[in-house]
């Protein structure tokens, strides 16, 4: 009886360790820094030439779009820090001025991010608190 139990414990430990090793060994390959624009600018050296995710707000009137090449340049800001973003590819439908975005890309150490993807907060079901940006009473 004792022997069987031991065999079991070995077998089960094996699985648990297996899962654990898979998790731990894969993790480093799939991680990226996630910073806000001001965090990025505060610690430029650390993030230079790193692939990272940068979160912030699209600056008003900063979007320049080239329909022929499907390239975009725009600025993202957060707490008075700004970065310039270059991007080529499909833009999410929710991307617009002042939208909250998360840009994935490479930081050049100065103030540019070359982006491989842009994620705009889909203003989905749980929308922001009512913003009195327009006068509701007029409607």
């Amino acid at each position: 009886m004792k022997l069987k139990q031991t065999k079991w414990i070995i077998g089960l430990t094996f699985i648990v360790i297996g899962v654990f090793i898979t998790v731990m060994s894969t993790l480093p390959k799939a991680t990226q820094y996630y910073v806000t624009v001001d965090e990025l600018m505060r610690d430029k050296d650390k993030y230079t030439n790193e692939d990272l995710k940068v979160a912030g707000k699209v600056v008003s009137d900063s979007i320049v779009k080239n329909d022929q090449a499907m390239t975009w340049t725009f600025q993202v800001e957060n707490n008075n820090s700004t970065v310039d973003v270059f991007y080529k590819g499909a833009m999410p439908d929710t991307f617009k001025e002042t939208a909250d975005v998360v840009v994935t890309g490479r930081f050049d150490g100065q103030k540019h991010v070359i982006a491989s993807s842009v994620l705009a907060k889909c203003a989905s079901r749980y929308e922001e608190k009512l913003q009195p940006s327009y006068d509701i009473r007029k409607n």
Binding site: G11, T22, A30, Y34, D67, Q68, M70, N139
Partner: protein
């Protein structure tokens, strides 16, 4: 008026729910049955009050009472009536009321179902369920009141986000909530059994029924979510390992584990502690998921407002963890198994391995989802974990599970001899070997070595599992045909009817095999961005695509600009496809139109052809189209149907459905 009534109903529900808890516990402690009965009636009364609150909110939504903030934010005058109804779960506050409502429906049913049996458990079941209800009522009153009015009058609202105005909005959230909230009922039974110290095998039967129901809806909810993403969102996939998706997947994994290990407890009276832990875990995971996604603590495509709802969830979650695991430790002696495992090669061990792998998968996903939060706590830097992590962890785990799906049912209980194993595995292996060889020869083009390996293993295992299931059916049918002289169809139907848990379960397994085939197709996905000028023709794999022109149409609500694409497949006319950009006019003056993408999909069993119009140049009509070939995606939806069908077979009430505990 209705908003005032709604408020009153919620406050009244608070009082009545509290009464239900006090009476139930008092009645149980002092053995006064009339108090217990009164507590039970209070559950139904709370249910009616919550239903009334829901009706009140629906009246507000339908009648356009826009001075109610919630109505103003999620509806407007021009919205179709169905979306006005669906606005109940379209926003944070309403969806919490909807959650409470579903909880009350479940509670009322559970209490009704057990009114004559499990008398010792019932008061505590009521107490636990009503405590959860009380938590939601508290949220509604203090933090997320959907009946909140604004101090001024408004004539119109902002309307539901056009991206959500889709028929999936009517069915996906309710089924997901039904699954999520449903996990509360088994949790309540488990906790009640521990409080009352009635840890014989009765509670597990109740718990299994309710877990199965919750699991059923959670499965549908997840499948519908995947389908919605695929058809509407335009990035060409059905699953992105987004935190919100993970939050719905984790409890599904733990519940699936429980549904399997419950069988061992019923059959062999083992794994009691483990089962109780799984029941608790499944419920806690629904709470963790809700907390994560509603507190704004992890960033997700499904953006959630930063609100203090998260803090409430955090506190409640903490209490739940302490109480449930505290009780579990306290009751460890009563939960001890009376049997031990005999052999590593037995059905018990297959079930146990399956359980560990399921829980391992849940842990791996939870770990990846929580990693940004954990890394920020520990190292001060937020580090995110992307889909590559989830894919590379979940593919091997999934394949192990797929293997066990085939292995478990054909290996015997207790102990298998080498001869028995040879006999059971001979036929499946005879099928698997040629499949692997063929797969190796024909499917070599798919990328790197690892992918090729995975594809090969996956297809081989799919065949393996499928053959074992067919054999199980075949043996049963042949036996009936021999003994009862039944023809094939009669034998098949009576076979299923004779043990619906077993044969219904196999139908679910067929669904899983089909799902895995669909997932495997993903390895052969081809994706390309095409730049096309009017009248330009291009070749995309074996499709010839001709771009004719941009065609705009518009009505009061929206402007649709569609690109007309004529497609030939292998030089034969195939389809005219019209991917489009849609601009929804905002009901708020001065606000920009909300753009959205309308996908064009031509489905076939082998592969789907998928177009999304990314951008267009209004002047010279040049377009960018994302073209995707998604092989075998249809198997996912077909597999989903099998999964649902099989679950229905298992759940169908009757003499040898749920109630019976045999599983031969």
């Amino acid at each position: 008026m209705p908003e005032t009534l709604g408020n009153i109903f919620i406050h009244a529900a608070f009082v009545v729910a509290t009464y239900a808890i006090v009476m139930s516990v008092l009645g149980a402690r002092t053995n006064q049955y009339h108090l217990v009965r009164s507590g039970r009636n209070a559950v139904w009364a709370t249910g009616i009050l919550v239903l009334s609150a829901v009706i009140a909110l629906e009246v507000c939504l339908l009648k356009g009472r826009f001075h109610v903030e919630y109505v103003h934010q999620y509806t407007n005058l021009t919205m179709p009536i169905f979306y006005k109804i669906a606005a109940l779960w379209g926003g944070q506050n309403g969806s919490l009321l909807f959650w409470l409502f579903i909880l009350m429906v479940y509670s009322s049913c559970a209490v009704f179902q057990t009114r004559h049996r499990n008398v010792e458990l019932q008061p505590y079941v009521v107490a636990v369920l009503m405590t959860i209800a009380l938590f939601f009522i508290t949220l509604l009153i203090f933090s997320a009141n959907p009946f909140q009015t604004m101090p001024f009058d408004v004539r119109d609202g902002r309307g539901l986000n056009p991206l959500l105005q889709n028929y999936y909005m009517l069915i996906h959230p309710p089924s997901l909530y039904l699954g999520y909230v449903g996990m509360s009922v088994p949790f309540a039974f488990g906790i009640a059994a521990m409080i009352a110290n009635r840890l014989d095998n009765k509670w597990i039967i109740e718990v299994r029924i309710w877990t199965l129901i919750a699991w059923f809806f959670l499965s549908i909810g997840n499948l519908l979510g995947a389908s919605w993403a695929y058809e509407v969102l335009g990035w060409g996939g059905y699953w992105a390992w987004d935190p919100v998706e993970n939050a719905a997947f984790i409890p599904w994994l733990t519940a699936t584990a429980f549904l399997h290990s419950a069988i061992i407890q019923e059959k062999r009276n083992m794994l009691k502690t483990w089962n109780m832990a799984l029941v608790i875990l499944s419920f806690l995971m629904t709470m963790v998921g809700t907390f994560l996604t509603r507190s704004g603590i992890v960033s997700s495509v499904h953006s959630f407002a930063q609100s203090d709802v998260g803090q409430y969830f955090f506190v409640f979650l903490g209490i739940c963890i302490l109480v449930s695991f505290g009780l579990l430790i306290l009751r460890l002696p009563s939960l001890r198994s009376t049997n031990v495992l005999d052999s590593l090669v037995s059905r018990e061990s297959a079930f146990l391995f399956n359980n560990l792998v399921f829980v391992g998968a849940a842990f791996a996903i939870l770990w990846g989802t929580l990693f940004p939060v954990l890394s920020e706590w520990v190292r001060g830097t937020k580090i995110t974990v992307g889909p590559p992590y989830f894919n590379s962890v979940m593919i091997p785990i999934g394949l192990v599970l797929l293997f066990l799906t085939g292995f478990g049912p054909i290996v015997g209980w207790r102990k298998s001899t080498l001869d028995q194993l040879k006999k059971s595995f001979l036929v499946p292996i005879l099928f698997v070997i040629p499949t692997s060889v063929l797969a190796l020869i024909f499917l070599r083009k798919s990328g790197d070595f690892l992918t090729t390996m995975y594809v090969n293993i996956s297809i081989s295992l799919c065949v393996f599992v499928f053959v074992t299931i067919v054999m199980e059916y075949w043996e049963g049918i042949a036996m009936r045909a021999r003994i009862f002289k039944e023809d094939f169809m009669t034998a098949l139907i009576r076979l299923i009817a004779s043990n619906r848990r077993r044969y219904g379960g196999y139908v679910v397994h067929i669904g899983i095999v089909l799902l895995f085939l669909g997932f495997t197709g993903n390895a052969f996905k081809v994706e390309k961005e095409l730049k096309l000028k009017p009248q330009e023709t291009t070749q995309f794999e074996n499709y010839l695509i001709h771009y004719d022109s941009l065609v705009p149409t518009s009505n009061a609500h929206k402007t649709v600009i569609s690109a007309h694409l004529a497609v030939w497949k292998n030089d034969k006319p195939y389809a005219l496809m019209k991917p489009a950009r849609v601009l929804y006019n905002s009901s708020v003056p001065g606000e920009d139109a909300q753009p959205s993408t309308e996908i064009a999909i031509k489905r076939s069993i082998v592969e789907d052809l998928y177009f999304a119009l990314l951008t267009f140049d209004p002047e010279n009509q040049t377009i960018f189209v994302k073209a995707v070939i998604n092989p075998l995606v249809q198997f996912i939806w077909i597999g989903g149907l099998f999964l649902i069908l099989g679950s229905v077979v298992v759940m169908w009430p009757g003499a040898n459905g749920l109630r019976r505990t045999t599983y031969a």
